[in-house]
């Protein structure tokens, strides 16, 4: 069965382009041009992924996101011209899985869709315990991190951080999400601590910590753990 994607956008040209491109990439596409229509469609024929614009004529995309999250965990990818970090963080904190700004490259969008689908299937199924990205292997059950086969000594907090990032591989995690998962901080006043720990972690696992390969910064938003074949 084909994977079904619901595209919500009020711009007919975007809908037209995305429908053509996604259909050509073997997805089944339904479209909605208002928030209400999107909510109705999402309930009637539950999609596997939702691509959501923030500026909709009848309601804000963030509201749509919130309402969806009240009953479904379907991956939501925000696709918007709004490029401020605040906006991104807000959307992610409201439950969106990813955020892409217009204009976007289609490769990027396809990659994000794949990541979202993979993550959704992991949430449903059994969690992967060994995450591999290039030369880096993180074994969650054995608390072991190796780089090119050599063990890397991490402190408990560093490991918690690495494990959280890796188990959300290729997804952006906001500062707030990481702080609350790893340290239990419920406010975002501790981003400096996070930065320091990310810095330490990079020194241990990255070849060039200044130009990191595994843990990349999403400016003003958070971090993303990148997996390589």
């Amino acid at each position: 069965m084909l994977t079904q994607i619901l595209v919500v956008d009020d711009e007919p040209q975007i809908l037209r382009a995305l429908k053509t491109i996604l259909t050509a990439n073997q997805f089944k596409v339904t479209t909605a041009s208002t928030g209400t229509e999107a909510l109705t469609l999402a309930a009637a024929q539950p999609p596997d992924v939702i691509i959501l614009d923030l500026s909709l004529p009848d309601m804000d995309g963030l509201m749509v996101c919130e309402e969806l999250r009240a009953w479904t965990q379907v991956p939501i990818i925000i696709l918007s011209v709004r490029d401020s970090e605040k906006e991104k963080v807000k959307a992610l904190d409201k439950g969106a899985d990813d955020y892409l700004t217009k204009p976007f490259g289609i490769e990027e969008l396809l990659a994000r869709i794949r990541v979202a689908l993979k993550h959704a299937s992991q949430v449903k199924g059994i969690q992967q315990t060994i995450i591999t990205s290039g030369a880096l292997v993180i074994d969650l059950s054995r608390h072991l991190v190796t780089l090119s086969g050599k063990e890397i000594k991490l402190t408990a907090t560093e490991f918690r951080l690495a494990a959280y990032l890796a188990s959300n591989a290729d997804r952006v995690l906001t500062h707030q999400a990481i702080l609350s998962y790893v340290w239990g901080f419920e406010d975002s006043d501790h981003t400096e601590y996070l930065r320091v720990f990310i810095g330490q972690l990079r020194k241990k696992i990255e070849n060039n910590p200044n130009s990191p390969k595994y843990i990349v910064t999403e400016p003003g938003v958070g971090y993303r753990f990148i997996t390589y074949e």
């Binding site: 204009p103 490259g105 408990a156 340290w183 400096e192 320091v196 330490q200 130009s211 400016p219 003003g220």
Partner: protein, 488 residues
């Protein structure tokens, strides 16, 4: 109270002096009475009349005349020590004396009053002149009200003066200047003088003075002062309106140059895209795979360029409207620079980029995105002017205890010294580089961002190229620099 006392004393003295003067003259004349004949004595009695009239005015002078008349009669006209007169000539002499004395008093008094009026006018003129000098060149309501209040306070012996005017012609903000604290707050003013500008409004001078009420002359003078104030305010308003018009004109010019620059910058990539897409769609043009790939690459690059332009325009309008608040947090400069380089593939391909940042370089309180934009614009600037294959160097070091110095050096041609500052102006494009694309926004955005961070940016010619330098503060108020910690 001071005024009141002074004036009372003056009144008492003005009647005391005639008595003293007449007594003194009588005494002296009595002493030398045998040497002088009666006519000389009557002449000498005119002296106190003249002096008193000169100094104290009409009534004391008349008093002196009458006193002299009696003393003259009593002490010198026989029979002495009586007011009776025997001889007709003595009677005539006495009457003539009285008439002359009173006429002299009147004449002299008139003269005196004229003189006093002249002095008064001169004083008024002097005060007005001083006021005018002080008001010249003042450009806003606040300064004018201050000067007006001070001058009125100094000139009119008041306890308190309050001047209320509008700051600017739009009448949004009222300004009240108070000079003097002689009267407690909340007391009703003793006099209110309106300042009536042509724009209408409630501009006003309030005066408090205990004791003497304001005389008509003083009120007239105050009105003149207020009128001068009015004129000064009108003048200031006109200047401001004129300035406003100039600013509008400037912004109009800016808009025109923005439009021409933007429409050129928007149309060029659009033209490329349109041409590429239409040839890709065309059935008559047959393209091989390489050409198709080439056209598609061009389309992608041009859309990126358009997007960058829109970003720059937005950023500029944010800087212009003053809403560019850096969201500071502790960031690694190295991470920012490498992040930009990672994204700008073209720069890495076309240039030898050398980043010299010490490994243990401290975190810096900057807005990540904005700093990213500064480097992006600086690198993109390098790529426009520096020859391909040349070297771009980024150096970061601690400049002093408060600031970091960042240098982005490239091997582009020198810039004339007088243009080194102007290149940071909005829409400024260097002469002789018309074929280089750009809106002239990049560097002015860098400047806006760096200044919003509390730093400075400048360009400098180097022996083998050009350097952009900028500083950013090492600390910001919210917190101290953080050091690396193992566990928290």
């Amino acid at each position: 109270m001071r005024n009141w006392d002074h004036s009372l004393y003056k009144k008492i003295f003005s009647f005391l002096y005639p008595i003293l003067a007449v007594t003194a003259v009588t005494g002296i004349l009595w002493y030398v009475r045998d040497e002088l004949n009666i006519q000389v004595i009557s002449l000498l009695y005119l002296l106190p009349v003249v002096f008193i009239s000169r100094i104290f005015g009409l009534f004391p002078a008349v008093l002196t005349a009458v006193l002299s008349f009696f003393c003259y009669n009593y002490f010198f006209i026989s029979p002495r020590f009586t007011l009776a007169i025997r001889q007709t000539q003595d009677l005539i002499s006495l009457i003539v004396f009285l008439i002359i004395a009173i006429v002299i008093s009147q004449l002299l008094n008139q003269d005196r009053q004229n003189l006093m009026a002249v002095i008064e006018r001169e004083r008024e003129v002097t005060y007005l002149y001083e006021l005018n000098i002080a008001l010249t060149g003042l450009k806003d309501g606040k300064e004018i009200s201050q000067i007006l209040a001070e001058k009125i306070f100094a000139t009119f012996n008041t306890d308190r003066v309050e001047v209320v005017v509008y700051q600017s012609p739009d009448k949004k903000k009222k300004i009240s200047t108070v000079v003097g604290d002689g009267t407690p707050e909340g007391t009703d003013p003793d006099l209110i003088i309106p300042i009536s500008t042509t724009r209408g409004g409630e501009e006003i001078v309030r005066l408090w003075r205990s004791g003497l009420p304001f005389s008509t002359v003083e009120q007239q003078m105050l009105n003149t002062f207020a009128r001068q104030g009015t004129l000064a305010i009108e003048r200031a308003y006109l200047i401001e309106i004129d300035n406003h018009a100039k600013i509008l004109e400037e912004s109009d010019k800016l808009k025109t140059s923005l439009l021409s620059s933007v429409s050129h910058e928007l149309r060029t990539p659009l033209a490329t895209i349109k041409a590429a897409v239409s040839s890709l769609r065309s059935k008559t043009v047959s393209l091989d795979d390489a050409s198709r790939y080439e056209l598609l690459t061009a389309i992608e690059e041009e859309t990126d360029r358009l997007n960058h332009l829109v970003g720059n325009l937005l950023e500029m309008s944010r800087i212009e409207s003053g809403v560019l608040n850096p969201q500071r947090s502790w960031n690694s400069m190295a991470e920012i620079v490498y992040g930009v380089l990672k994204r700008m593939i073209q720069i890495r391909q076309d240039y030898v980029v050398d980043v010299e940042i010490p490994d243990d370089f401290p975190y810096v309180p900057v807005d990540y995105i904005q700093m990213d934009q500064v480097f992006t614009n600086l690198f993109s600037n390098c790529s426009k002017y520096a020859p391909k294959g040349s070297k771009i160097t980024v150096r970061i070091r601690v400049w002093d205890e408060k600031q970091l110095l960042i240098q982005v050096k490239n091997q582009s041609p020198h810039i004339a010294e007088d243009q080194l500052e102007r290149i940071f102006d909005k829409f400024y494009r260097m002469n002789g580089f018309e074929n280089v694309t750009g809106t002239g926004l990049g560097l002015s955005i860098c400047k806006g961002i760096i200044e919003a961070h509390g730093g400075k940016i400048w360009a400098q010619n180097e022996p083998d190229g050009l350097s952009f330098y900028f500083t950013v503060p090492r600390f910001w108020e919210r917190s101290e620099a953080i050091t690396e910690k193992e566990e928290i």
